[in-house]
């Protein structure tokens, strides 16, 4: 059975889910550093799939990420707030899950 965190990233349709966004938080970050994010979305199901993701409130729109053909979206120089960065996946028709996240920084 899939774990709960993985299930955050797919909002099927209809009334499932209480909000228009799903989110996770990356905790334990250093407030004095800037972090960069590569986020990869993609599904194997048919149809149109958007992947609109925000990192620390900075929204990037990803369209048609079906079959993982889309380029990962990149966020740079994001400062955590109190050691936390929030990543949200905005609900759209056929929303696609996030498959993987790469976080990189200099320290």
């Amino acid at each position: 059975m899939d774990n709960a965190l993985a299930e955050y990233w797919y909002n099927p349709t209809g009334s499932t889910g209480a909000a228009s966004e799903r989110g996770i938080k990356v905790t334990g970050q250093n407030n004095s550093l800037l972090y960069n994010y590569d986020i990869m979305c993609g599904v194997n199901f048919t149809g149109s799939h958007s992947c609109d993701v925000s990192v620390a409130g900075d929204l990037h729109l990803g369209v048609n990420v079906k079959d993982n053909t889309a380029t990962p979206q990149l966020w740079t120089n994001k400062a955590p707030s109190s050691g936390v960065t929030t990543i949200r996946n905005r609900r759209q028709v056929g929303i696609a899950p996030i498959n993987a996240i790469k976080i990189w920084w200099y320290e």
């Binding site: 299930e7 955050y8 209480a18 194997n44 993982n68 976080i103």
Partner: protein, 251 residues
């Protein structure tokens, strides 16, 4: 603007504005008293005159990088403006290194638009200066950023790879030999909180990933079968073109 000029001993005296081409009209001379000639004229220099090549201006001068450290690329930024609309051409740049934020012992270390910090910069302070120049060759006033520093020693790049796919899905493609954080296995009890994330070299980072409990809903769909993403630069890409469709795929 009206000016009155007293010309002593009958000598002529020219009047120049600080600007390049001011306009003077309606000149008249009151010669009723030959010991004191009084000239009256209208002087106009609104700086909206296209004949007047006002100086180009640089503003908002700054520089930034991922970090102010040895080996880091520092990218300069400024806004070029020219009242008469002449484009920028040939602006010049200077990077200064100083011993403190006030500029003690400052020296020019580069004349490029951007600059990569070097070992000699460690512990020092840097600032960027631009002298704007327009296509007519008119040179503006140099404008500099504030000093930033001290420059840190070389930094270490750390990378964390996190898979959010299901336990039965394969990991996304990535560089060979790296360690992934697979949330399907690091959070087996569904507690909405991962274990500590490690970097690609399996070194602890102190970071975790937590689900947003405020939006937690148990009955969400599954990601099963979706987890096969690729990161940029980690596979050969080929551009495929079909009618009405262009896309890239890893091979």
């Amino acid at each position: 603007m009206n000016l009155v000029i007293a010309i002593a001993s009958g000598r002529k005296q020219s009047k120049r504005s600080a600007n390049t081409v001011p306009r003077v009209t309606n000149i008249s001379v009151d010669a009723s008293d030959l010991s004191l000639l009084v000239a009256t004229y209208t002087f106009a220099d609104t700086e909206a005159d296209l004949e007047d090549d006002v100086l180009p201006i640089a503003s908002g001068v700054s520089f930034s990088g991922l970090a102010l450290a040895d080996g880091q690329l520092l990218t300069s930024s400024y806004l070029y403006t020219h009242f008469n609309g002449k484009a920028e051409a040939g602006s010049t740049y200077k990077w200064y290194r100083a011993n403190d934020g006030a500029g003690a012992g400052a020296a020019v270390i580069a004349t490029t638009r951007n600059y990569t910090a070097v070992t000699a910069d460690v512990g020092k302070y840097l600032k960027f200066e631009v002298t704007p120049v327009n296509t007519a060759g008119t040179i503006g006033t140099p404008v500099a950023s504030a000093y930033s520093g001290p420059v840190s020693a070389a930094l270490t790049l750390r990378e964390v790879y996190v898979s959010l796919g299901s336990a039965t899905s394969p990991l996304p493609s990535g560089p060979a030999g790296i360690v992934w954080n697979n949330l399907a296995t690091s959070n087996p009890d569904g507690s909405y909180l991962s274990g500590f994330l490690v970097d690609k070299n399996n070194v602890a980072t102190g970071m975790k990933i937590a689900g947003d409990l405020a939006m937690a809903v148990q009955n969400l769909g599954k990601t099963t079968g979706n987890n096969s993403g690729y990161f940029v630069g980690q596979c050969a890409r080929r551009i495929l073109v079909q009618p009405h469709r262009i896309y890239r795929r890893c091979f």
